[in-house]
Symmetry: none
DNA sequence: GATGAATGAGAGTTCATTCAT
DNA sequence: GATGAATGAACTCTCATTCAT
């Protein structure tokens, strides 16, 4: 299992740095290898091709992303509380890894449609997590029973994503996690029973 | 002024079609030229380089986009009404030009960071339009006085954009404009005084 | 029609020289381009890919090869005479273009199976020419009526080819065309009625 | 002496299979090692480099080839009889080892000029064997005294080789050894006194 | 103004060989 | 002796841009 060997993660982390610092199209395999401290050919012992590095990168990072959020939501009893936490964690995790933030919000979006479709497949898990919180809120009577879960989820993800992207494009010069409560409230107001 | 000559728009429209049909990375200058019915070299009489075509494309299309919305909002008296109309028009205009929808939501995002920064500069006018509606709502007492206009705008744009992108990625197989009232309400609920 | 433009033949002839002088695997596209006095990219305006250069090379050269032999055989009345002339012309034409001889006898055989199959398709015409001479000889009673034309053709081609290859491998240091009468006679003796 | 250890032949036989099944350019060292059931590095304990495997392969196989034919010709009294047997054995031995036939007739010829020169050195012994039969025939008065032994040998080898190659290219779908008498006769007719 | 043939820089990937274990 | 993870050199082809006509 390649995934358990240290060089696998070494290369993925090198890719994050190389892409964040050089940009998607300027992060050649040779640059990633150099950053990882391995030979070019070594990359291909762990990844099928360059695209495979990028998908793996996204999968690994997004995987722990979803996991951490799930852990954080675990003990909470209301959907509202969960939603607030989700926004907060999303913001915090990206604010804590600025390289990753640049890569996910700006660089990886330059990939071709095919790669983006694969990335979207990875994102699906996150979308389902949001959907569950929304459904719970509706079932428990916290949110309007007429709420269109699909639209609401697009609102949540779209808002969070746009907020993070704007922050990255402004060179991360303000405190992103500090915005979480306000963003969370704006969203909640949209869903809640009055 | 190149912008007034017929070939200028001829090339821009050819670029929309070429990109929508072939994808961003497969829309070579020669393909755009062929689609426009001109020689490759002629492109460079009207545009500085390939990037210039894309920015001009975005500027031209987004310009009429903002103009039309401004016209639509002109006679309306409440911010809420304006917001509802804005969403509706945004959805309608993209639903009416499916090539343009693919190009703006999927293909043009594959461009490099530099180009995307320029595109964002073009988007600024649209952002300001949204900001004005929000400020008006606050001033008139329709929206909460504590509303963070910047965040609210990111919520509006993020939600609309995510909704359109999801629709495009689902191959535009449902009625996008029909979603406008619901999306508008979700947003309004977030801003309104209870 | 690319084939009529001067650069088409310029590149093919450059390929013959580049391959003869550097060997099949050392005749990179850039070397061929340099030899032809054009840019690397220009090659691809006239040929689909590197393999296409090699097949075209073989087709062009073998095409005129067969044509010239057909012309030479035209007025002759006996199959024996035709066979003698065929051997003589085959030897003479390769002796006159030593680069081409190296390329066809040694270098082009290093190509992969796929390319060799395409080359064989080109050779078919030559094989048919030989077959016709043999059939004529049988019909006219010059050759044994029991002659297996397929085997006889393999004998003719195998013998000629081996003779030329041996000559090339010996660095072309003896007079190949001078061997033609003797080779022709050896073959004829095999076919003739006693 | 590496040559006496079991793994030496194990690797050579693995190379024959690997090349026959995958083609010359797709028979990487790692594939040969896998087929032989040894590690990649082990190959280099028995062979200097990849080329060395191929030459050794050819030497080993051709060595027993010549040996067997010499044995078969041993008791025969006429050169004609020997020639007939030589053709028959050549055909039979390759027909009996179809992997080897593919390798010698098609795949090994894709090797570079250098390797082919070394292969030709190995073939020399076979050529000498043929030469001896021819000389014997001339001395005994079976063949024409004016026979050019060098040319005659090229005719024999060229004819046999072309016949086998054609058979391999036709996917070995007819009975090659059955052609031996006819091929032998065609050759003999060329040499014999009338 | 319009053409389109020509340019040439730039990068992902393979695989024979090595060497520490 | 045997292993197999690691190495890194090497090459085809694309395509934005130019410029002579």
């Amino acid at each position: 299992m390649k995934r358990n060997k240290p060089k696998y993660h070494q290369i993925i982390n090198a890719a994050v740095v190389a892409i964040a610092e050089n940009g998607y199209h300027q992060a050649q395999v040779s640059k990633i290898a150099k950053q990882a401290g391995v030979a070019d050919g070594t990359i291909y012992l762990y990844f099928k091709n360059k695209e495979d590095i990028l998908i793996s990168l996204f999968r690994e990072k997004m995987g722990s992303f979803v996991e951490e959020i799930q852990k954080a939501l675990a003990g909470k009893s209301t959907a509202a509380e969960k939603l607030m936490l989700l926004v907060e964690h999303h913001f915090t995790m990206l604010a804590e890894d600025r390289h990753l933030a640049v890569v996910t919000q700006l660089e990886l979006r330059q990939s071709n449609k095919e790669l983006r479709l694969k990335i979207n497949a990875v994102l699906k898990e996150y979308m389902q997590l949001i959907d569950e919180v929304l459904k719970e809120g509706v079932e428990k009577g916290e949110f309007r029973s007429s709420l269109n879960v699909l639209l609401a989820r697009q609102m949540i993800f779209g808002t969070i994503d746009e907020t993070v992207t704007t922050w990255v494009m402004n060179e991360q010069k303000y405190d992103l996690p500090a915005l979480a409560p306000e963003v969370g409230n704006l969203l909640l107001n949209g869903f809640s029973i009055r």
